[in-house]
Symmetry: C2
Subunit: 269 residues, 2 copies
Amino acid sequence: MASDDNSSRWVRVEHDGKPCFGRVEGDRIALIEGAPWEDGTATGASLPLEGTQLLAPVVPPTFYACGINYAGHARTASAEFGKTLESFWPKAPEVGYRAQSAIIGHAQPIVLPADAPPNVQAEGELAVVIGKRASRVSEAEALDHVFGYTICNDVSQREWQFADRTFWRAKNADTFKPMGPWMVTGLDLDSLVTRVFVNDEQVEQFATNNMLFGVARYIATMTQYITLVPGDVIIMGTDGHAPRIQPGDQIAIEIEGIGTLSNPVVRAA
Amino acid sequence: MASDDNSSRWVRVEHDGKPCFGRVEGDRIALIEGAPWEDGTATGASLPLEGTQLLAPVVPPTFYACGINYAGHARTASAEFGKTLESFWPKAPEVGYRAQSAIIGHAQPIVLPADAPPNVQAEGELAVVIGKRASRVSEAEALDHVFGYTICNDVSQREWQFADRTFWRAKNADTFKPMGPWMVTGLDLDSLVTRVFVNDEQVEQFATNNMLFGVARYIATMTQYITLVPGDVIIMGTDGHAPRIQPGDQIAIEIEGIGTLSNPVVRAA
């Protein structure tokens, strides 16, 4: 069972010219005041789920990224970069950052910059959404501070990632962080399976929770130094081989129990 | 002359339990609706400047950092880390990130984590606040997209910075990014002088605009790949030697033409 009886799905949409959270109820989106980790009072308004453009389900105040967090990806990435496995193997749950500016929603295009070299890859990742302020929490308490989960494609331009000092354009160029389609609460992490598809062909599959350092371990470690606040997002890394993507492709990341984040790839004019 | 006739000063304060922007007019703060780069309609309410706690003057959607951006700091930092100067000398304006979670305002304490090793340093930096959406702008147009400037202390724990894979706790532990006291518009960058004081003793002074890559060059380069939005902040790096700080110290960063950001240092319990 991927989710318990209290599982719910939450989207973010534009309504009356403003972003608005909503709860998915059957084939409708019931809009709420504020954020779902706050009161979440229904406004009474609703929209059809089908045909409504979904925004990224959350815009994190701070956007954290775990980097290498699966054995298989440590192996393939170290080989691809011509480095030793040891240099890629994380010794501790040290978190990095991604940029709010790069986020797009489900179905929005990933736009490759006109001068981006050819090796752009998709990375299918579980995205943890914080629901309750967390400072110096234990591993046992950590998951109580999670609101729910969504999916992120940590799109990466490898030539830039290798050559630049930072990940500014390699991982944070505009549109390089698709997120969505929605947030799901009440999940059992051990039941999740991640699958990556390029043009409907499955190119990767892994047990989502088969991480080197799990969600609770990351939160417990981070919050010894950093206060997490509601809406913060942590993307948990990818496993195996990240497929190359190119203009014209349709990239889908499915996490069983959450849903499917799908985005077309185009080249900037 | 550090500022033109249209120069104005903007703070952020708590009012009626919510953060609110205000314009400094003499010894009063005139509160406004929304942000100063929007309409900025006065609410009619005002507060005394003296005695009102100032919040960080802006909370950036994305918080950018230039890293090494002055010749003198490239020299001292490369020596301190035991690296070649060449490895520290930036070849291009590649931007990094800092975390919203680490930001505090003027006069709020910098809290050193209980287990932080001794070598914590202050870095006095110019902080650029974006006022107008910027995508693919030229160097000539870049400064038209700047709202104003404030001051940031890029507090850095060097042992962690050297040992960790990322800057998560070295530069982004809670309270490690003091910012303020206010934003100032209409500045002439060439007139600015940065001074760093530890307990009222001046330990560093440099021409603020003596950067390896200037503000306009950074914005022009970044916006070829990244869209900057109002409220985004770019901290521009520090020059010379970054002084060590310890509990009990009072650290002040003055930028002539902007003001003085001052924060006490304490140790976490």
